[in-house]
């Protein structure tokens, strides 16, 4: 079965330190890959996506993500965390070649940035 794994329920990081939120996937072929962020009591906001090309993708709010085909991973990163980055982060994949735009979501990782 196709799936997305976010192995950490929560990531804690001090403000100013680099952060990584992990995502691995089990999907045939080379899927499209996405990261979304959810602030408290809000809907999801699109952060970035990987379609093809450079393995390092830059997105909103200074976030970037690195696609690693051999490890089937798409980890979210930021060089210097802000307290305002504290939120719930979701990784999602869409298999290539599908006729619809259905996404498979991970279970989410709560990022807590301490001042």
């Amino acid at each position: 079965a196709q799936s997305v794994a976010q192995p950490e329920d929560q990531v804690n990081v001090a403000e100013g330190n680099p952060l990584t939120v992990k995502c691995t996937y089990s999907v045939s072929g080379n899927p499209y890959l996405f990261w979304y962020v959810q602030y408290p009591n809000r809907g999801l906001q699109f952060l970035l996506k990987y379609i093809t090309g450079d393995n390092l993708v830059k997105g909103s709010y200074g976030f970037e993500a690195e696609f690693n085909k051999s490890q089937t991973s798409f980890h979210l990163k930021k060089p210097s965390a802000l307290v305002s980055d504290s939120a719930l982060y979701f990784c999602a994949v869409r298999p290539r070649g599908g006729a619809t735009n259905k996404l498979i979501f991970g279970t989410g990782t709560l990022l807590a940035v301490q001042p």
Partner: protein, 111 residues
């Protein structure tokens, strides 16, 4: 900017009531989706629609139905609400194969 709106932010209903959740998008997107979000389970797809009057079941359609009579509007219907349908409901829309844009969510409590 794409805007996806949902009819209510918070809703409290009683067991057995018929519940309508409405979603409207303003970007002429073909695809619309209904998810429910529960702690530890992430987002689970209930139904989606890729055109007017077209719908497909997602991963957890039981107890739900949908309606898409106009391109901009996608309704989720709980025919007879039950307590296990207490959840956050998220609507999303997308152009064909583009990223999905989400509404603010409706937190439904069924008593």
């Amino acid at each position: 900017d794409v805007k996806v709106t949902q009819s209510s932010r918070y809703l409290v209903k009683r067991t057995g009531e018929k519940v309508f959740l409405e979603c409207v998008q303003d970007m002429d997107h073909e695809n619309m989706f209904w998810y429910r979000q529960d702690p530890g389970l992430g987002l689970r797809l209930i139904y989606f629609s890729y055109d007017v009057k077209m719908k497909e079941k997602g991963d957890i359609p039981e107890g739900y139905s949908v309606s898409r009579e106009k391109k901009e509007r996608f309704s989720l219907i709980l025919e007879s609400a039950s307590t296990n349908q207490t959840s956050m409901y998220l609507c999303a829309s997308s152009a064909s194969l583009g990223e999905q844009f989400f509404g603010p969510g409706t937190r439904l409590t069924v008593l």
